[in-house]
């Protein structure tokens, strides 16, 4: 009884009741290890560790949890321990049954055991039992999820051969977020990146993709699916060559009849991006070398800036710095008359007291919503547009509508541990 009590009390420190009243880990960063005495005889050790890294990362991509492989700490300090065994295994009370039927089991304390009599295979092997799928399922149990009988759920008790697109669906995401909450965090910048494509008939069509950036990584957000691209976040240097690897302050796309230029801003400098060659310009067609000083490219704008966006309605770039807004007329290549102004004067609150008051994180014009959003912390304010004023004429021009939570509008933009960025 004493031994049981000590174990439960130790367990209690790791686990607590979540906000919803369910048992869950009480910390957001969890350590895991594939035990040396529990390697599978069917895959190389590196394959096994890679698959488990991927499995943990898949949970990290849809929850505020981060997982790090720990091969150095004492075993009792590791939160989740994984191992393979057959029959009586690893000091476990539950004997495996041999080939067939039970393929693994997991415990709330964090041990996951795989039956090495099953034919586990690497992802996309086409035969056998996908170790990745089983691992994701068992990690779900360790995190506190029970079996779920819904078709398509990763927590279904029975194994179904892996489909080519094995990912966590909406309901599974919400199930884990019910225990641990949604993913919150600030962003450096958010933008819709425009690209031109030619159809098979030779027509040029305009398409866009939405990107969220935070520090040294970014996500592509799929608006129609209400989630990020599978496998994101990605390190900045992978997708955006030449911009600062630790992040940017702003992204601006100046797009008018005369101009089509993409800029990234960081500190007191800015870069122009070459969409054709998918990297920053070292020297553009106008002879400008990059990076350039913001003070040279945009005279009158004080740097560093918080963020910026280009407003196609008036051909101005709006730069935000502390409580000030600088409206830069790109045609005149100078600050608009009367600027800088206080942010409350340019973007007044619709509801008194409901305003970000400066130090904006990101200013984002969304083609999906045809609206401008100002993001700060975990909240955002939508700027009153022409349609809003048509419906409610009393709304102030460029007013800020009451705030909403970012994670209730753009879902599951979750960080992963930096060691998981490169599997």
């Amino acid at each position: 009884k004493r031994h049981l009590a000590v174990l439960v009390s130790k367990n209690r420190r790791k686990r607590d009741l979540s906000g919803a009243g369910h048992m869950a880990f009480s910390k957001k960063m969890l350590k895991w290890r594939l035990m040396g005495e529990g390697y599978s005889s069917q895959l190389t050790v590196e394959e096994q560790r890679y698959i488990f890294r991927l499995a943990f990362r898949m949970w990290s991509e849809v929850s505020p949890l981060e997982f790090v492989e720990d091969i150095k700490s004492p075993l009792e300090d590791v939160d989740i321990r994984l191992g393979f065994g057959t029959g009586r295994h690893l000091g476990c009370n539950q004997k495996f049954d041999g080939t067939g039927q039970e393929f693994a089991h997991a415990w709330f304390l964090g041990d996951i055991h795989f039956d090495d009599d099953e034919h586990f295979t690497a992802p996309n092997a086409g035969s056998g039992i996908s170790l990745l799928k089983v691992a994701v399922h068992e990690i779900g149990h360790v995190l506190g999820l029970p079996h779920i009988y819904r078709p398509g759920s990763i927590m279904q008790p029975s194994y179904l051969p892996q489909e080519s697109a094995f990912e966590m669906d909406w309901m599974d995401r919400k199930a884990i977020q019910h225990l641990y909450g949604g993913c919150k965090g600030r962003f450096n910048t958010v933008f819709d990146w425009i690209r031109k494509e030619k159809t098979p008939y030779g027509e040029v069509v305009i398409r866009f993709n939405t990107y969220f950036m935070r520090d040294g990584w970014y996500w592509l957000y799929e608006n129609r699916n209400n989630r990020t691209r599978y496998g994101d976040p990605v390190a900045l240097q992978i997708g955006w060559h030449g911009i600062p690897v630790d992040g940017v302050d702003a992204y601006v796309h100046v797009w008018s009849r005369k101009r089509d230029a993409v800029y990234f801003f960081k500190g007191i400098q800015f870069w122009r991006y070459d969409n054709e060659n998918d990297r920053v310009f070292r020297k553009d067609s106008e002879g400008h070398h990059y990076p350039r000083l913001i003070s040279e490219g945009f005279p009158g704008v004080s740097s560093p800036i918080d963020t910026a966006f280009y407003d196609r309605r008036d051909s101005r770039i709006y730069f935000f710095k502390s409580t000030l807004v600088y409206a830069f007329d790109v045609e005149a290549n100078s600050l608009a008359r009367g600027f800088p102004k206080n942010i409350r004067d340019v973007f007044p609150p619709v509801v008194s007291g409901d305003h970000p008051d400066g130090n904006i994180d990101a200013a984002y014009f969304s083609y999906t919503h045809n609206a401008i959003f100002l993001l700060k912390g975990t909240r955002f304010w939508q700027v009153v547009g022409s349609r809003d004023r048509w419906r409610r004429p009393f709304l102030p021009r460029n007013g800020l509508l009451p705030y909403k939570e970012v994670d209730q509008h753009w879902f599951d933009i979750c960080s992963v541990h930096h060691t998981a960025l490169k599997l």
């Binding site: 009390s9 009370n93 049954d97 041999g98 693994a104 709330f108 009599d117 009988y149």
Partner: protein, 166 residues
């Protein structure tokens, strides 16, 4: 090692003698339903902490409980009682079977049909489907913690000896 000849281990052979018992009849089906909590919710966490040296496997215990019968001569009352118990157990089995069929998306027949047999023999996770609420389990352990602490305070000498022995 498991025998293989190909470089990529794609022909690794499994030892056929070590195969899980196939579920073929009511007895094995009942074992399945008991193991995964369909007849009665399983206290999965308690099984985790059971002294492995003193207890048999959870499944072995189940098998024993299902196979063993009493050898007490039947009186008329005991016969009626046994008949009642048997009927109750059978109802429990059918009810559990129906629940399994329902959650598995099968036709709910209450009969151990071919589709149900196939579903039961599919590879699956060993965690029970129906578990006792963990909060209830921990609350019951909390009361043991209090009792244990008081034991430690009054018998510290014996406790330290016990610790040393362990």
């Amino acid at each position: 090692e498991k025998l293989f000849h190909n470089r990529d281990h794609s022909d690794v052979q499994t030892v056929n003698s070590h195969e899980a018992e196939v579920i073929t009849d009511q007895r094995t089906a009942e074992l399945f339903l008991s193991r995964y909590g369909f007849i009665k919710p399983v206290n999965w966490e308690e099984i985790r902490f059971e002294d492995i040296s003193s207890s048999g496997d959870f499944l072995d215990d189940l098998q024993a409980s299902i196979q063993e019968g009493t050898s007490v001569p039947h009186s008329r009352d005991s016969h009626n009682r046994d008949a009642y118990n048997s009927q109750t157990e059978n109802q429990a089995f059918i009810s559990a079977l129906k629940e399994f069929q329902r959650v598995s998306g099968l036709l709910v027949t209450g009969m151990f049909d071919e589709a149900t047999k196939v579903a039961m023999n599919r590879p699956r996770c060993g965690v029970p489907d129906k578990e006792i609420d963990l909060n209830t389990f921990e609350n019951s352990v909390d009361s043991n913690i209090e009792n244990t602490d008081s034991f430690n305070e009054t018998d510290s000498n014996n406790t330290s000896e016990a610790v040393q022995r362990r």
